[in-house]
Amino acid sequence: MIGKTELSRRGTAARARVRLVFALVAALLCVANGPARADNPGETSITYAGINSRHGTYLLDVLVNYQISRALKEALTSGVHLELVIRAEVLRENAWLPDTAIVEKEFRFRLHYNALLEKYLVKNENNGDLESFSDLAAALRYSGKLLNAKLLSASRLEPEETYYCQVRAMLDQAGLSLPLRMVAFIKPVWRIKTDWYVLPLR
């Protein structure tokens, strides 16, 4: 697990470098950007993740502590919809080749503010449940909580192989409206993405 965490850390660093290069190039192109304001809400993180097996099925529990910036809150109350995604992958370790993903699942929550009801509505895109919350924190807690989410059937795992699960939470920028995508690409406050949280899978 430590090895995977290290791999994950290196991968994250490499991706951060690529992101930095992209951001620099885009910043060159974007001449109309105003000065960045200090708007650091803290890192969004996965506070808990666990897998339990029940009746031959692996179930996933995840708790995400979403931290969103003032800019996102402002966008939310201005009618912008946010898609918060918990992505889980089950991978088989390979000796020489990159690990193979055998399951890729996304648990998608659509968060928006309803001005008529003056409530934050969260729709679980996977099952269609719609919940309303008077405060944003409750809506984010709901969006970041997975309990007994079905991951995969134990029968798909081969006994001689080694598997692990990795989980991350993020804001899906593809769900943003078009002009915001460019802004989200350029401004870090619009980027919500945790590192991979790696879990062993027995």
Binding site: F22, V25, A26, L28, L29, C30, V31, A32, N33, E74, A75, S78, G79, V80, H112, Y113, N114, A115, L116, L117, L121, G128, D129, L130, S132, F133, S134, A138, Q173, A174, S177, L178, P179, L180, R181, M182, V183, F185
Partner: protein, 727 residues
Amino acid sequence: MTRPSAGLWPMIGLFGLLLVLLYLLSDASHNAARFQQLYIVLLLLSSLFLLSLLILIGLNLVSLIRNVVSGAPGSRITLRMMTAFIVFALAPASIVYVFSIQMLGRGIDSWFDVRVENALVDALELSRASLDFYMRAALQKTEPMARKLSEVPNAMTALSLSDIDRASDALELTVLGNDHRIVASSGVPGDSMFPRLPSGSVLRLVSQGDTYVGLDPQNQAGLQVRVVTQIPATRGNPEPRLLLAMFPVSSRIGNLGESVEAAFSKYNELVYLRSPLKQSFVLTLSLVLLLAVLFAVWAAFYSAQRLMAPIRDLAMGTRAVAKGEYHQRLPVGKLDDLGMLLLSFNQMTEQLSKARDAADKSQRLVERQRASLQTILDHLSSGVISLDDGGVLRTVNLTAGQILNLELDRYLGRRLEDLGDEHPMLRGFYNTLDPHLGDHRDWREQIELLGPTGRKILVCGGVALPSGGQVVVFDDVTALIQAQRDAAWAEVARRLAHEIKNPLTPIQLSAERLQRKLLPNLEAPHAEVLCRSTNTIVQQVKAMKSMVNAFAEYARTPAMDVRPLDFNKLIHDIAEMYHSNSADAEVVVHLDPAVAEVEVDAGRIRQLVHNLIKNALEALEGRAEGVVDVSTRCIEDSGCQFVELEVADNGTGIPEDLMEHLFEPYVTSKVKGNGLGLAIVKKIAEENGGVVWADSVTGEGAKIRVRLQAAVRPGNRIGSELRRGSA
């Protein structure tokens, strides 16, 4: 030669790539899925494209500036064209860009209107007011239900709740215990096992005695009013319980409310996105415009270079032609105006090349002929020179230089008259030629020149050249004439010796016999006459014999015994004899220690010196304080080393009329003497490879100079050659 047009393809390719890039960028902007996949990649590709264009333009610019600085052909006009192109491309693009940005801003701003915004807010408020009505109604319906249930024990609550539910329009009724556990429920939809409970905060709020009324959106059922209130505690139910009631909202009101909310949200979102939207459009527009402008600039560079290539080629070709490189052929592309110009240039250079080849061929032919002529001239025994009308030396042959004892090659291009100052011999030569230089008639003259090797007799002939100037041919006939003269004198001497000497002995014998026979028989007066007469005859016969012997000696050609000789010693020995024996005149000797040895016949040279000193002493006879100065010195002339002997006297000098024939036999100014002394001197000098000449100033004496070749040493070979040549 045809210019390849392949260079156009990169530009067309880049232009096509630019169009595809811009199309994809535009397409991605309108398609969310593709935007996510492509937009950033396209943005990066565009940036790379932009960077590539900037690098290309930069390289072209640096190259252009370097060419301008170095003065490369066509660079300045390329710079001017480039400046014009860029100005023409940038000016309209900038105007369009500024107007587009303004139009874009105004267009986006025009979407927003305060009245619309106010209307939407009002509509939202109206919707809320309408929904509040439903909420108040729901509360009013719920409170009696709670009071009614307060008296019902928990065990009977389900039954009572069902009755209440049937009597009301509630969609769902639920009673929760103090611990928020469900006590009873009624009207729960069939697809759900449990009633949907409000959040914990709501339950806690209501547990404290408050009442919650709110609108809850349902997945399929639209809006519903949720009421949560406390069921008052009674004696039968001391624990307070909660009543949850769900009431429907009119679907029409609900839909309208949702519609208003959707419009409000959309408008609000647009207001929020106004700035990012503008930035996004400006970015895209700027990128597109920048790409287009930079591509135009690069295309301008490319076009200018392609356009200027023929002119540059032409300029370089012209320079090459100016340097005489006529083989230069310029690549000809399309047969447009420039192409025709290049074609004409190529034709011109081809003609020039052919003409030059022909000229070269002719020149080579002329050179060959000239070389042949020069070879012929160099091997002629006659000297040949050519002069232009100004007397400038144009051509000489080897023999001319040998005859004039000069390296005439060095003086080509110089006026012969000017050379006369440096070489007195040429002065006389020029004086002879000068009258004929402007004359186009042939001429022939014999001239005599006095040079370092003595008197020269040249036979000259001149012919006018068609191109102006003259060619002069001359022969050194000195030796020939001298040989003829010597042969004539030798013949005279031989005849004299033969014709005169033979009768002299009988005459002398007869006179002596007459004297011996008759003298005793004659009386004193007659005897005296006879004696005097016969003596006179005998003496004259002796004199004539002496003269005949001298002539015989002159005519004789002795065998030469040439050996190295210390010239100074010889002179000193001979002069010493005269110094002690001479009573009338003093013989003084001045010997130059630098005088080298000479290779001569010592006996003959001794006779020559004797003759000269004796001749000088005879010239001083009867003159007081007569001095014969015998001197030697070393002479360097025309690269040769000579030994010169000068015998000078301070007598009356040699009469002018004798000077010309001084060294011919039987020429003398003295009463005594047979006139053969100097002739023999000349003969001996010539036999030993030397020359002799005389200088005289009337009343101041005469000087006879004999110049002999110094013994051959390294560095004297030319002189030796000259001597053999002139011998």
